[in-house]
């Protein structure tokens, strides 16, 4: 529960009014369960618009109780001055001379609410509760915007860093070639050319993964949810990796009943399968195996991907789903990847109200278990 002090200023030329109102709300506490906030009220009173504006030079209230009729500068003028000053103060007009005209005028000048004199302490607290919600919600919205901005900045910073690396590498090779550091014979530069292609491929993959990620995040592309048969989809994805698997003598196997169906967007499921099968081969050992199993459980489809690969330590498992997170150790040095695969997967799993579990033993292998909710039986 957040505790927040709300400053309430009362501007009224009737001292009795000020005193009565202050007594009703000073040090009063109100809990707003749904906003997870407890508000404590601190009251200050002023007898004129002038003294209010003076005081405003040093501090400002969250909520203002403003009398419409004041000697000197009247309530409406004060409202005008507040409007120009661009402060976010929630104003409740308290007035004994309420007319529709005055109400419309005050509203146009930014007044939030009205309280007709005479009012009971209960009526006062009621109006204050409404105003408080406005104050608290506005503040929460501002904080949320700040957070969002920070997160986006972080993400963009890391992305810029991730792209700088391959660009720097390619630049370096080009400069070495310009300097003819390995001599006049183009054949000597074969490794450099190969490395440049690799880094370019990596950048392309990164950008592609990024687009996938933001597309899912923003929910901008329409989801094409329909009943799909799982087995043909898995077989199709596994087929795409057959060549790579054969070249390293990694055996691929699939256990999946012909009849398993689910309501899903096939491109999302394909993305998910691609990531796990790709990882299951990339991080595997030569002559190893990757087993894919699909089962229907009561309200879900369960996918199990088990490989005999290099595995991960507990510590490495912790970092798995973070964006751009790549496990860097002796064994993974030459394995390419954008670091976004599992973050994308995580977002897809969330779309299906699902969960992911990982079990891994270094040097022995890793098993990922993914459950996606599907209520059609």
């Amino acid at each position: 529960m957040n505790i927040k002090t709300l400053k309430v200023w009362i501007v009224d030329d009737e001292p009795g009014m000020c005193l009565g109102a202050k007594r009703a709300i000073d040090k009063w506490k109100e809990t707003f369960q749904d906003l997870d906030t407890e508000a404590i009220y601190k009251v200050e009173t002023m007898e004129s618009g002038e003294s209010f504006l003076e005081r405003l030079k040093e501090d400002s209230p969250n909520i203002l109780l403003l009398d419409g009729r004041l000697p000197g500068i009247d309530g409406m003028e004060v409202l005008e001055k507040l409007k120009d000053s661009n402060q976010s103060i929630v104003t409740i007009m308290i007035t004994a001379y309420a007319t529709l005209d005055k109400a419309v005028q005050a509203t146009k000048l930014g007044a939030y609410d009205f309280l007709a004199k005479p009012f009971t302490p209960e009526e006062l607290r009621y109006a204050l509760r409404k105003a408080s919600r406005n104050v608290i919600l506005t503040e929460q919205a501002k904080k949320f915007e700040e957070e969002k901005r920070k997160v986006r900045f972080n993400f963009i910073s890391v992305l810029a860093h991730e792209l700088k690396s391959p660009i720097g590498a390619i630049e370096g090779y080009i400069n070495l070639m310009k300097m003819k550091q390995l001599g006049e014979n183009i054949a000597a530069y074969e490794t450099m050319l190969h490395r440049m292609s690799q880094r370019l491929y990596g950048m392309r993959k990164l950008i592609g993964d990024l687009l996938d990620l933001t597309r899912i995040e923003s929910g901008s592309s329409k989801r094409d949810l329909k009943e799909i048969k799982i087995k043909p989809l898995v077989e199709q994805v596994m087929d795409g990796y057959k060549e790579e698997a054969i070249s390293r003598n990694i055996s691929l196997s699939l256990i999946c009943d012909n009849e398993i169906k689910m309501i899903a967007d096939s491109s999302e499921i394909e993305m998910l399968l691609n990531n796990f099968i790709s990882n299951g081969i990339k991080y595997n050992k030569d002559n190893g195996s990757l087993k894919v199993e699909v089962y229907r459980e009561k309200n879900a489809i369960k996918f199990i991907f088990s490989d005999t690969g290099i595995g991960m330590t507990e510590e490495e498992q912790q970092k798995l789903f973070k964006e751009f997170s790549r496990i860097k150790n002796e064994k993974t040095r030459n394995i390419p990847g954008s670091g976004l695969g599992l973050s994308i997967v995580e977002k897809i799993v969330k779309l299906y109200n699902g969960k992911i579990a990982v079990k891994s033993i270094p040097d022995e292998g890793t098993t990922f278990t993914v459950e996606l909710e599907d209520k059609t039986i």
């Binding site: 890391v158 590498a169 550091q181 790549r326």
Partner: protein
């Protein structure tokens, strides 16, 4: 003939290591490369190093700093050059100025990527000849 100086290059980017090994070898230095703090510390135990070039390695944010610190501690006269790509994106400035920095950044020079080969060569020459 003067014996070659040995440079230790530490960076988790293999291309960075390969490129600088080619350039600095051609410039007359003996070059040993390492991709991690641990690898670097093992190498230093077995070889005499005349100058170390360390990347800050953002994956484990403090690897570069810790390595520089250890190297200087074991051999205060070893010139250490830190190279970082941190500046610019994050807005964190690493400038070797001010007493505060001197206290905990154990490096003789701090350079920001991208650095030209010629500039690295210049700094190394300045530090060890």
């Amino acid at each position: 003939m003067q014996p070659k100086h040995t440079i230790l290059l530490v960076d988790d980017d293999d291309d960075f290591l390969l490129q600088h090994k080619i350039y600095l070898s051609n410039a007359g230095y003996n070059v040993i490369t390492a991709s991690s703090r641990k690898e670097a510390e093992d190498i230093v135990k077995q070889h005499k190093i005349d100058c170390a070039l360390i990347d800050l390695m953002m994956e484990e944010a403090d690897s570069g700093f810790i390595l520089a610190y250890h190297l200087k501690k074991d051999n205060p006269s070893l010139p250490v050059i830190i190279i970082t790509s941190v500046t610019g994106e994050t807005g964190i400035e690493f400038k070797k100025n001010g007493k505060e920095h001197d206290k905990w950044i154990k490096a003789d020079v701090i350079l920001s990527k991208p650095v030209r080969f010629e500039q690295i060569e210049k700094e190394i020459k300045r530090l060890i000849g």
